[in-house]
C-alpha cells in the first residue's frame, strides 16, 4: 500500500542526513498516485497533497531518522482530519415524527438502506415507518413492501398513481395517527442534472420539512462523486451521507471527495445486502482502506 511505498521512497534517504525538497516532491507524487488510484477526486487530491507537503517539509520530518514513517503519519493524520469524527447520529426532532429523506443516484442502494435504517432504529427503541415515494421504477414500491414484510416494519404506500409529494405528506399524517416516531422516505434514483426530478425533491422537502436529508453514495463511485455530492448539497442541503457496498473491494476514495466538497459527515456504512448490514461509519477505517 501507500505506507510501504512511502517508506521505500524515503528509506533510501536515511543516513543521507537531510531530506531535500526533491525527495519530498517524489513522495508527494506517490501520495497523489495512490489517492487517484483509490478514486479520490483530482481537485481534492491536489488540495490534500498541498497540505501534506507543507507539513512534510517541516522540521519533524526533515530531521527525522525515519522520514518515510513521518510522512506516512502526516498523510494518515490529514486523512483522519479531513474525514472528521464518527457521527452516526440522525437529527432527531424534539416533536415526533422525525422525517428522514434518502436521496441519490440510480442504483446507489437507497431502498435497501431505508429498510436497514428501519431495523437499526427499531433496535434503538424507535417506531419507524418506511415510506414508498418511488413511483417510477418498476416494482420499487413492492421492493420496499417485501423488505418491510421481512422485517415486520410498516410500509406506507399510496401506489404509483400519486405524486411522491402527496405520498410524503400522507405518510406524516399516518405516522402521527399511528404513533410512528421516525419516517424514512425512500425516493426514486435520479440524476443531479435532471431539473424536474431535483425540483420534485425540493418540493418534498418544503412540504414535509425533513429533519435529516441523507445522500446515498455507492463506495465504488469515481471522480463524479464530487459533481453529484456538490449538486445535491447545493440544491437540497444535506445533513449526512450513507456510503454503500463497502463490503466490496473498492478503495472508497469517493468518501473523501464527498466529505471534502460538502463538509457533510458520512454517518452510515452499508456492508452487505442483508437488512442488518448497516454500521456507523468509521472514518479511521476508511482512511486505512484508502491508504491501502
Amino acid at each position: 500500500g501507500l505506507a510501504e511505498k512511502l517508506q521505500n521512497t524515503l528509506k533510501k534517504l536515511r543516513g543521507k542526513g537531510k531530506v531535500t525538497e526533491a525527495d519530498v516532491a517524489e513522495a508527494m507524487r506517490e501520495v497523489r498516485m495512490a489517492l487517484l488510484a483509490a478514486d479520490v477526486n483530482l481537485k481534492v487530491v491536489k488540495d490534500f497533497v498541498a497540505r501534506v507537503k507543507e507539513r512534510a517539509i517541516g522540521q519533524d520530518v526533515l530531521e527525522s531518522l525515519t522520514p518515510g514513517q513521518q510522512v506516512v503519519k502526516v498523510v494518515h493524520d490529514e486523512l483522519i482530519q479531513l474525514m472528521g469524527g464518527t457521527t452516526s447520529k440522525l437529527n432527531m426532532s424534539s416533536k415526533p415524527p422525525t422525517v428522514v429523506m434518502l436521496v441519490g443516484l440510480q442504483g446507489a442502494g437507497k431502498t435497501t438502506t431505508v429498510a436497514k435504517l428501519g431495523l437499526y432504529l427499531r433496535k434503538q427503541g424507535r417506531r419507524p415507518l418506511l415510506v414508498a415515494c418511488d413511483v417510477y421504477r418498476p416494482a420499487a414500491v413492492k421492493q420496499l413492501q417485501v423488505l418491510g414484510n421481512q422485517l415486520d416494519l410498516p410500509v406506507f404506500s399510496m401506489g404509483t398513481g400519486v405524486s411522491p409529494v402527496d405520498i410524503a405528506r400522507g405518510a406524516t399524517e399516518y405516522a402521527v395517527a399511528q404513533g410512528r416516531d421516525v419516517i424514512l422516505l425512500d425516493t426514486a434514483g435520479r440524476l443531479h442534472i435532471n431539473e424536474e426530478l431535483m425540483d420534485e425533491l425540493k418540493s418534498i422537502k418544503s412540504t414535509v420539512k425533513p429533519h435529516e436529508i441523507m445522500l446515498v453514495v455507492d463506495a465504488m463511485t469515481g471522480q463524479d462523486a464530487v459533481n453529484v455530492a456538490d449538486s445535491f448539497h447545493k440544491q437540497l442541503g444535506l445533513d449526512g451521507v450513507v456510503l454503500t457496498k463497502l463490503d466490496g473491494d473498492a478503495r472508497g476514495g469517493a468518501a473523501l471527495s464527498v466529505k471534502a466538497v460538502t463538509g457533510c459527515p458520512i454517518k452510515f456504512a452499508g456492508m452487505g445486502e442483508k437488512p442488518d448490514a448497516l454500521e456507523p461509519f468509521h472514518p479511521d477505517r476508511l482512511a486505512s482502506r484508502i491508504l491501502g
Binding site: L36, A37, D39, P138, A139
Partner: protein
C-alpha cells in the same frame, strides 16, 4: 484546453487532468499523454489547438474502429447478463429485448435473480411493457434451475434470443462468483456453446474498481462484451480504456437513460469526444 498559444507542459498537464477527471485512471492518462508528446515531437506539430483532437483520435483507435455487434446467429442465441449490484442489468435487459423485438425477433427473458426483493416482479413488469415473455420460478429458487428451464422453454418456443438476468453480486464474494460459474456451466449443458454472449454491465459512475470487476467476472464466466450504463449523467466511464488495453473486452452498448429505448450501440469516436466534453 482552448485559447492556448503554444504547446507546453501546462497544456499536457491539462489534457492529463481532463482524462483523470473522466475516470481514465492516473497511470493510463499519463501513458496516453506520453504517447501524444512523442507524436507531437515526431510529427513536428506546433499548433496547440490540434492536441485534444489528436488525443481523441488515439483513444478512438485504441477502442477499436467499430463496435463488435452481438452475434445473433444461434437458435436461440443465449445471452447472460452479469455485474455488481445496482449497475442497470435488469433495465438493460428490457432495452435489449425491446430493440430485438422491434427488429422482428422472438425474444424470451429469464428471471435469474431469485434473491433480491421484487427482482422477479421488476423483470416481469418490463416484460409486459416490452411485450415479451418471462420465464420465472419462485423467489429463492436455484438460479441455475431457472437458467436451465429457460433454455428448454426457448427451444420449444423457437425463440431467437434468450436473455438471462442474474442477481447483482460483488466480485470479491467467492460463493456468489461460484454460483455464477455454475449458471454458466448449466447453460452449456442445456445447450452446448451457450451462453453465446456474456455481457458485463458497468455503471459509468464507477471508478477504478470497474477494472477489478471486469477481471474477476471475466475469470468466473468469460466475457464477450461490456454494457456501459448511466452515460446520461455527468460521469464519463473512462475506465473502459484500461479494461480494453488489459482484457480487450469491447463495449457493445451504452445506456443513456431509464426508458426501454435508451440504448445505443457503442461508438468509440463519440465516446472519445465525450471524455473531454
Amino acid at each position: 484546453v482552448t485559447g492556448r498559444t503554444k504547446i507546453d507542459d501546462e497544456l499536457y498537464d491539462e489534457l492529463e487532468e481532463a482524462l483523470i477527471s473522466a475516470d481514465v485512471g492516473a497511470e493510463t492518462s499519463i501513458e496516453l499523454v506520453e504517447r501524444l508528446r512523442r507524436k507531437v515531437k515526431e510529427q513536428k506539430i506546433s499548433d496547440p489547438s490540434l492536441l485534444q483532437g489528436l488525443l481523441q483520435e488515439e483513444i478512438a483507435a485504441i477502442l477499436g474502429g467499430e463496435a463488435i455487434p452481438v452475434n445473433l446467429g444461434n437458435q436461440p442465441t443465449v445471452i447472460l447478463i452479469v455485474g455488481v449490484n445496482g449497475v442497470g442489468k435488469t433495465t438493460t435487459i428490457a432495452k435489449l429485448a425491446h430493440r430485438w423485438k422491434q427488429e422482428g425477433r422472438k425474444v424470451l427473458l429469464a428471471a435469474g435473480d431469485t434473491f433480491r426483493a421484487a427482482a422477479i416482479d421488476q423483470l416481469e413488469i418490463w416484460g409486459q411493457r416490452v411485450g415479451v415473455e418471462v420465464i420465472r420460478h419462485q423467489e429463492g429458487a436455484d438460479p441455475s434451475a431457472v437458467a436451465f428451464d429457460a433454455v428448454q422453454a426457448a427451444k420449444s418456443r423457437e425463440s431467437d434470443v434468450l436473455i438471462i438476468d442474474t442477481a447483482g453480486r460483488l466480485h470479491n464474494k467467492s460463493h456468489l462468483m461460484n454460483e455464477l460459474s455454475k449458471i454458466n456451466r448449466v447453460l452449456d449443458r442445456a445447450m452446448p456453446g451457450a451462453p453465446h454472449e456474456t455481457l458485463l454491465v458497468l455503471d459509468a459512475t464507477t471508478g477504478q474498481n470497474a477494472l477489478s470487476q471486469a477481471r474477476i467476472f471475466g475469470e468466473a464466466v468469460g466475457l464477450t462484451g461490456l454494457v456501459l450504463t448511466k452515460l446520461d449523467g455527468t460521469a464519463k466511464g473512462g475506465v473502459i480504456l484500461a479494461i480494453h488495453s488489459e482484457l480487450q473486452t469491447p463495449v457493445k452498448f451504452i445506456g443513456i437513460g431509464e426508458k426501454m429505448d435508451d440504448l445505443r450501440d457503442f461508438d468509440p469516436g463519440e465516446f472519445a469526444k465525450a471524455l473531454f466534453g
